[in-house]
């Protein structure tokens, strides 16, 4: 039991108390239900990988989004995390493709440009097939810094660079912004 509690408490957003509650809950759950959960966890782990093109989570690489001929492959939206892709997809406003950075610049946490998928992004841009890059980093200081950094290295490549419209709640995460607001910010994007 102690091992289970310790492992659960390592998950994001779960403190020691919640971990204990979950552990007791699992203890009283029928075996087959627990089995389902454990299998689902392992399968997800084994079957999901990062898309080799955009960095999104997928069962098969390239991901469905990158393979979809109906999408605009010249319009590229740069986000911090896979969950931001999901948030933007929910808006149904965006018809282009994505690039997931897997983080934002934060020297305090040891995250510099090398730790993000910036080189891969540059490779994609150098093919000359991209018309516009939308920077959709989180509306906080690290997101802002990351966007500024990217703008500076992308601009010399003569690709149009835009940002989500201002007016998103500051300090937050993209994933917590409601679909309508996010859709509007996308529509009202401005060139930098």
């Amino acid at each position: 039991m102690r091992t289970l509690i310790n492992e659960l408490a390592k998950l994001p957003g779960i403190g020691p108390k919640t971990a204990q509650r979950l552990a007791f809950h699992l203890f009283t759950t029928p075996r087959e239900e627990v089995q389902k959960l454990a299998t689902a966890m392992l399968e997800t782990k084994d079957q999901l990988t990062f898309c080799t093109i955009c960095g999104h989570l997928t069962e098969e690489s390239p991901c469905l989004l990158c393979r979809d001929p109906g999408r605009d492959h010249a319009l590229l939206c740069v986000v911090e995390e896979p969950k931001d892709v999901i948030a933007l997809e929910k808006t149904r406003e965006f018809k282009g493709v994505y690039h997931v950075l897997h983080g934002a610049l934060s020297p305090l946490e040891g995250i510099g440009p090398e730790e993000l998928t910036i080189n891969k992004l540059l490779e994609r841009l150098q093919t000359g097939k991209i018309r516009e890059v939308i920077l959709a980093c989180d509306p906080n200081m690290e997101g802002e810094a990351t966007a500024q950094y990217l703008a500076r290295i992308i601009k010399p490549l003569e690709v149009k660079v835009t940002r989500l419209a201002r007016g998103l709640p500051v300090g937050g995460d993209l994933e917590y912004i409601d679909e309508v607001t996010l859709g509007k910010a996308l529509e009202g994007r401005q060139e930098i």
Binding site: P107, L108, G112, P113, M141, E142, Y149
Partner: protein, 369 residues
Amino acid sequence: MYLEKFKLRNFRNYHSAEVVLSPRINVLYGKNGQGKTNFLEAVSFLTLGCSFRTKRDEELPRHEENGFYLKGEFLDDEESLTLEVGTDLNRILVKINGVEYKSKRSLFGRVRTVIFTPDDLQLIKDGPEKRREYLDLYLAQVYPEYRQHYHQFYRALFQRNSLLKKFREGFRDFRELEIWTEQMIAEGSQVIYLRLKAIEDISPWVNRYHQLMSQEQESLSINYKLAGERVPSLPVSTVQDKLRTVLERRKNEEILRGYSLVGPHRDDLILLLNREWEMRVYGSQGQQRTAALAMKLAMVDLIKKTHGVPPLLLLDDVFSEFDDDRKKELLRVLTEGTQTIISTAEERDFLNFGAELKSFRVENGVIYD
């Protein structure tokens, strides 16, 4: 807003106490070491979210106890406000009008408070840190946006310092440094801009109070030093340009040392006697004390001017060094139309305030009406 009812449990030498205060002047009197300052400390913890004596909250619970609890009920013509804070070992719980908050930071700024203590002398005597603390504590109460910019500035500063440390180890991406420098300038310039604006406003008051108290012809001027240079009030864009210029000039030195040398976290105030003599170096003990008091009094005026209502005043044993006439005059000016809680060893100092005054005797952690 005035504090009507105040309750303490297990705070410093208090076991449990509850008092009903006067909306005007409240005097706590008693021998030394009885709990007068502790009471003021408790009130300030509730309105500012921190003690004015210590940064270590674990000192505050009564010996042998794991936590303390404070509750204040505030009133004015239109509304009431209840602030509560309770701690238990490392945990803290704040309630505002019954709604829970996780951080003591949410207490700050709901009831503006100015504290006077004998330690105010450090404002003049000590290093720049005390003077920056003075600016930060009060300007965050004067301008709501100050706190936001202040925290954001520190976030940018810590990021930039981490990067400068990496630079020292040989890793160098100057483009990345530029980005964090710009973030630091954007927030830092807002902090400095507000400081300059405040200094411009308070400087005539600082001078007037100093003259009133010194009863002499000497003048006292207060100036802001941005990166070592005395500057007047400036627009934000000019502050940005100045910061950018100095940061560029000192970049190599910063890389060598591995931390940021320019910004509001390094600035200072300078107080001059008769426009010439630095108070810190040339002032007598008495002059320095008066100057520090003048700086605090001017903040009270700035809060009054900006918000239309005076702050809650906590005066810890500050007037004992003044003679009776000056004490009376000062108290009259200061306490006009506001709630004040004063601690003193000498109750008789305040007897001539009559009906507006409520006094409490404090003895060994117990308060007697």
